[in-house]
Point group: none
Chain length 199, copies 4
Amino acid sequence: MTRLSREKAREATRGKLIAAARTCFAQHGFAGASVDVIAETAGYTKGAFYSNFDSKEAVFFLLLEDHLAQEIARGRSATAGSSFNEALNRMIRVYDLEGESQDWCLLAVEFALHAARSESFAARYTELCGNNHVQLGRNLTRLADLAGRPMNKPAYKASKFLAFRTGLALDRTAPAPSLTPGDVRGALGGFLRKVLLRI
Amino acid sequence: MTRLSREKAREATRGKLIAAARTCFAQHGFAGASVDVIAETAGYTKGAFYSNFDSKEAVFFLLLEDHLAQEIARGRSATAGSSFNEALNRMIRVYDLEGESQDWCLLAVEFALHAARSESFAARYTELCGNNHVQLGRNLTRLADLAGRPMNKPAYKASKFLAFRTGLALDRTAPAPSLTPGDVRGALGGFLRKVLLRI
Amino acid sequence: MTRLSREKAREATRGKLIAAARTCFAQHGFAGASVDVIAETAGYTKGAFYSNFDSKEAVFFLLLEDHLAQEIARGRSATAGSSFNEALNRMIRVYDLEGESQDWCLLAVEFALHAARSESFAARYTELCGNNHVQLGRNLTRLADLAGRPMNKPAYKASKFLAFRTGLALDRTAPAPSLTPGDVRGALGGFLRKVLLRI
Amino acid sequence: MTRLSREKAREATRGKLIAAARTCFAQHGFAGASVDVIAETAGYTKGAFYSNFDSKEAVFFLLLEDHLAQEIARGRSATAGSSFNEALNRMIRVYDLEGESQDWCLLAVEFALHAARSESFAARYTELCGNNHVQLGRNLTRLADLAGRPMNKPAYKASKFLAFRTGLALDRTAPAPSLTPGDVRGALGGFLRKVLLRI
DNA sequence: TATGAATGAGAGTTCATTCAT
DNA sequence: AATGAATGAACTCTCATTCAT
């Protein structure tokens, strides 16, 4: 019991720190969010951060991994039904930029830039993204199946889709976005239909 | 004459510093490029930099302005002829990601992120982008005219186009891009035809 | 019995921690050896360390005490026979820098430096060293007796001897030592004969 | 003139920082002396330190180099005359541990320990010491010449001499040294005569 | 007795910016 | 106009030590 409560407490701390990191990174970017502030936001000190994680970068990576994994899992559920239209709408919801997703897009962009400049970081990042494209490709293939359409080079299609989504995210990010949430959903849907499924 | 040659000299210094800033920002990012290195790259010292510009941010902004203005001007030329197909190809060339454009996309992305986080910066940035969308919208309208197609909400279409382009740039930026330069041109062309012109 | 086995267990833990500290201090120095690593090396955690010792410094002191006591005891045995030549060789062996002795010299040096800078530490250190000089002086006197030579100011002679020995240790410590183990034994022997015994 | 006063000012700052580093390193050791305190001692801030030197280690190295060079130069002068006795006394004065020399010995010891543990540092350190032994060897050879004695393996003899000197320095370092300054001079002289020159 | 989560002071280093020259 | 010495705040990360469990 003692053991358990210790583990629980640790897990709770970890959770708070991760949540704080999520918030801070999204608000101030990877470079702009200091470990000090992240820890403070979580109600701890720097030391707690470093006894839970190896480095600032490690936490960011963790966050990114988690997010991608969730997105893929949600996409799998979304494309599990039998109605194409419903599946399409669910996929749009998975990839639209409401809620947490917008923050994540910003972070993803920051990390893309970081990877473009830090060799040591690039390898791990490339692997992560490659895997994400493959997995998303599978989900897109299921979507195409539902539409009764063929799907060639699914990972490549996934790249294009994510590129568009990221670009939209950057627009939504602006202090005065050109696009509304509805625009984004419309754009994603149009992209999926026309560019990917050629409907 | 002394007056004139002084001004010339000053202008030359400015030019070299701006060119150096362009290179350095593209290579290392806004935060990663230090004023010291920029000045050194230009063959001067920090002091020259601060004699010519108010801050690091100011130069970056200048760079962005220049680039957007050029892109718009090139787009105007591109859509000036009478053949839609030729105009489309020229537009693709203006916005593809070869040559300097790729660097610029990275910088644009960095600035978008910066704007999302610095209020003081956001206002000027918003204005710049809004204007860019309007101008690009005009060029897209001319393209639509050549295609004999209607163009609604041109600035909004411009937003979508730039979003996609930026997303593609981010992909090309990766250590192992999913997309080839040909893919990019194909994607841009397809986007212009299908999404914007509905051909 | 429970009491006894508990004490035994505690003693075992202490022993392992002390051995680990010995190894770590010698390898990385006093400052460079973290309590964390020492405890881990012993197969425990920080907590065990602090349950058994007051501080990092305290353990180091303990180590030094033990070592000096052993050196003196070995010196007493070495000078216990009746043949001067054999006794001299044994003494050289006690103070040469092979085996554990070299590590000890490094640690001794580190502590000397520490004592020069920490007042609180200095008092205990001084006492320890003074005692060591006196004891070694006695052993040197016995050596002199065997040689049939007088011995004046034995503690002072001991100081000089140890100074030389420590200096040699520092040389041996270098990545590319100037002196071989044989050189060291020769130098110690020569020093004992010429400087201390004036033979 | 402007240029000159700038250079002068810089040189003055450098000088003050070096002097402060000397003091602080000697007082608190390499690790114990923080850049912050060194800069403050010199009347500047950390920033000034880093615009004058690459790193803390670099300054220490500089200090060590300077000191060794001076010691060698003084040794050359000391052995330049024609009277052996006078030369010997001068050499003793060069290597006795009064004045700044004692501090230097401590620092030298600290760096020896550092070199024993940091590979990256070891190379430069080894070179420095090797050179020092050779140069001191030359001075000792000149001393031997004056005494009309042969000198074999001068660099090796130099190693032994410096080892002894360092050991003595460590003793003098103690809060309650066993040896007086006079003892040190006596010991150095004896060592030079007996061990090195076999007089 | 031993654990290990958390502290918190402090480390070395970087860099945009200022200002006397 | 250009220099570059100096600032000073901010950064990531380390570690001896404490204490509730």
